[in-house]
Symmetry: C2
Subunit: 110 residues, 2 copies
DNA sequence: CTGAATCCAGATGGATACTG
DNA sequence: CAGTATCCATCTGGATTCAG
């Protein structure tokens, strides 16, 4: 029971899961790529959330020596273990939308 | 990808998962029971979160005709489908604690 | 017992501008 | 490109009190 909370503490915030999804979906992903992937997030938030994920050792940050500099993010081994959960959440999200929202009332995306 | 967000939207907030865990763990649970189960939650928050869960049709609320009145909460069929996710999160939480926190540095519980 | 109402501090997060 | 800094509105959530 406390374990559930531990997990949720790491995945808190509005964007964590979406960010992780973006990264794990492509393997490696740059800051601006994620910024585009995650709908609605600001660079300020992305920066903050990525930092937290890095602290929790879920993502690895690599500065590439390009001109201008680019930064690459990828999941750590530990971050990879979230895949099952993300898959489950995705599946459940689909069912939930059908169940509650109904297929005919599309949610406003933006 | 949007589906993940759908799922997280429903499970947002600090307490949702813990509340669901509490209910599904016992099958049926009264307001004050959940209040005790979920460490640190206030009645104000519990009330709010339960209402949201009810709106999303994850829990069912039943007023029992006792003296004084008691209210019983249980998972709906749809709420039950979260069990897999909760189990996964719990498992992952345990691993995460070992991985990051280390077994010897107990997290302060409150 | 189960909540709703009020009050209020602190966290969250968007917009914008700026730096290396 | 990848952030950081600042400002500021809104949201979150605790404490307390009240009501059916």
């Amino acid at each position: 029971m406390r374990a559930v909370q531990d997990a949720m503490d790491v995945l808190n915030g509005k964007w964590k899961i979406a960010i992780i999804s973006s990264i794990c979906c492509y393997g490696k992903r740059r800051f601006s790529d994620i910024l585009n992937d995650v709908n609605g997030i600001s660079n300020r938030m992305l920066s903050k959330e990525l930092k937290e994920l890095e602290i929790n050792q879920l993502v690895k940050r690599t500065v590439l020596d390009t001109q201008p500099i680019t930064v690459q993010y990828e999941l750590t081994k530990h971050g990879d273990t979230l895949q099952t959960i993300i898959t489950n959440l995705t599946d459940w999200g689909i069912v939930h939308r059908k169940e509650i929202v109904g297929e005919k009332s599309p949610i406003i995306v933006e």
